[in-house]
Assembly symmetry: C2
Homo-oligomer: 333 residues x 2
């Protein structure tokens, strides 16, 4: 892999989505037939129904890879995002926020229906989030949205698994992988959620088997789902040899990186009060990738992930509120 100077650290492709965050009690989830902690796709009719029943919201830009870039940019990484919003007010909000976080974002807004995607997020006591996603325009990402020069300019191409299901964005991501690899760039991917793995296991496993993924982010559930294993060790043994760098998050139990047979672990950063766990994994990836972009050690990159994740679960919303760079400087130096 060549190590020429690049103008960008991370180029990400992901959902361009606004979160609508409300608190809810467990009884509400039960009445609505929702599985606590889960993520499900909903259609416009269900979105309207659920929205009319949920509490007052706060709107904060989201999207898994977009959140990761917001965090990585806050930590000093040079980032660009590719994702599809509609030409509407929520699209303008998403676009503004991305740029205000210091992330380059030039994908033109799409005219007409569907509107910009949104996630109705219900946060139960203790901060657990249950996500109900109306993907909207996000799934209509056209091939023209991919600026190949930009892919070649970025050290890391980062792909959001949530976007592997719809055909158009998947084609864009496949092509981006080819462009990145041909330019000697690294490809990173998060598998995002079990239902995507279930739907595309052979395909995703194929990417891994072919050595197309340099850095793979999964949580423990996704690791087990991907390998159809129930034992963590067996699952690790199946995946780790196939990716140069495997990062597995364990929620409150920290995270692990495996590189060339060597394991590195980090504890979760202590948090005074968990307010809203939305974005914990996204910001872990942000800290880890920013650390890697800065040429830090795996240990330090893991710590940066843990610090960024701890910040984001301390408040509502999946984008950093505090000065992440200052936090890392204080805690890590």
């Amino acid at each position: 892999m060549t190590e020429t100077q690049t103008r960008l650290d991370i180029l990400a492709i992901g959902n361009a989505i606004v979160d609508v965050i409300a608190t809810a009690d467990e009884a509400f989830l039960e009445r609505e037939g929702l599985t606590k902690g889960g993520m499900q796709l909903i259609d416009a009719g269900r979105a309207e129904q659920l929205y009319s029943r949920m509490g007052p919201g706060r709107e904060i830009s989201g999207g898994s890879a977009a959140n990761t870039l917001a965090g990585a940019a806050a930590l000093g990484a040079r980032c660009a995002f590719v994702g599809q919003v509609a030409d509407d007010q929520l699209g303008a909000v998403f676009t503004h926020d991305m740029r205000a976080h210091g992330v380059r974002f030039d994908t033109p807004a799409r005219a007409g229906d569907p509107p910009t995607g949104r996630v109705l997020i219900l946060v139960t006591p203790c901060g657990e989030r249950t996500m109900n996603t109306l993907l909207g325009a996000s799934h209509y990402l056209p091939m023209e949205s991919l600026d190949e020069a930009l892919v070649r300019e970025a050290s890391i191409l980062y792909l959001e698994g949530y976007l592997w299901d719809p055909e158009q964005p998947r084609a864009v991501m496949r092509h981006a992988i080819d462009v990145a690899r041909a330019a000697g760039r690294k490809v990173a991917m998060t598998l995002s959620v079990n239902f995507i793995i279930e739907l595309h296991r052979a395909d995703l496993q194929g990417l891994i088997d072919q050595g197309l993924i340099d850095i793979l982010f999964v949580n423990e559930e996704e690791l087990l789902c991907l390998t159809q294993e129930t034992d963590r060790e067996r699952a690790l043994a199946m995946v780790a040899p196939k990716v140069p760098l495997l990062v597995v998050t364990f929620g409150p139990d920290g995270a692990m990186a495996v590189r060339g047979g060597e394991r590195f672990t980090v504890a979760a950063e202590p948090v005074e009060r968990v307010v809203d766990t939305t974005g914990a994994g996204d910001l872990f990836a942000a800290g880890f990738l920013a650390g890697q972009a800065q040429g830090r050690s795996i240990e330090d990159s893991l710590r940066m992930g843990a610090i960024a994740a701890a910040e984001v679960i301390s408040h509502y919303g999946a984008r950093p509120d505090a000065d992440l760079k200052a936090l890392v400087a204080t805690k890590l130096g």
Copy 2:
């Protein structure tokens, strides 16, 4: 004043607006020529420019009287709101939030331009907010939006001073005063901000002189501006005899109510950390009015105001996050 049973406690007329809240440092305010702590009206061009320069935002429904109702409803008052949103995404957000707070809101959304109003709020360290308001559809409130039966059904008609400037809403509010008084209801008003007083001093003073306002909310600056006095005591002596109940807020120095020559004071409720002072006055009015609606004493109503205000300045956004009813029950019984 008759005391027949009413179906509503408070009917409010005010701006229907969404807040866009970002943090900023003092240098940013200076560069943009903004006066810290102030509120200014901006046009669409300036809104776009300022938005493009400010940090990532979080969108939370706002509007002064609307915030007051959200708080009063949380405290158990039966509330209805009259205000104008456009038929767009931010209008849907405002409408949802109002109803989710338990406030009746039936004013039909307005088709076409301008869009739903928004306030670009810059929160500087220590929590002070500087507001830049694009009024949008808010100022196009038509006379048909006023359901006279609803006015007659509410114990208190509550008017937002911010809306006294544009002609249409002012006409709606004037008519609402007539309907409320003819039905023997109380009329409450907040003067909102000095520039409204400067523009409409004779008119507003006229309402007070004619005895049309039963409960008047002002902060100290507005009291001095209204009376063109520099001395608090002289200003109080000029206004208090003309309104049955005068409520003056003093920010961190608490508040005072004057009724029939008798004064009642309350200290500000202690706050661990002031995050964002947006909505402090609105929520003070919420607590006070809810207390009055429950037939509580002036002293208790002032305490409820102080408790509600303290809650809202402890987090971003001008709508209550915590369970206000439980807070009041704990602190006041």
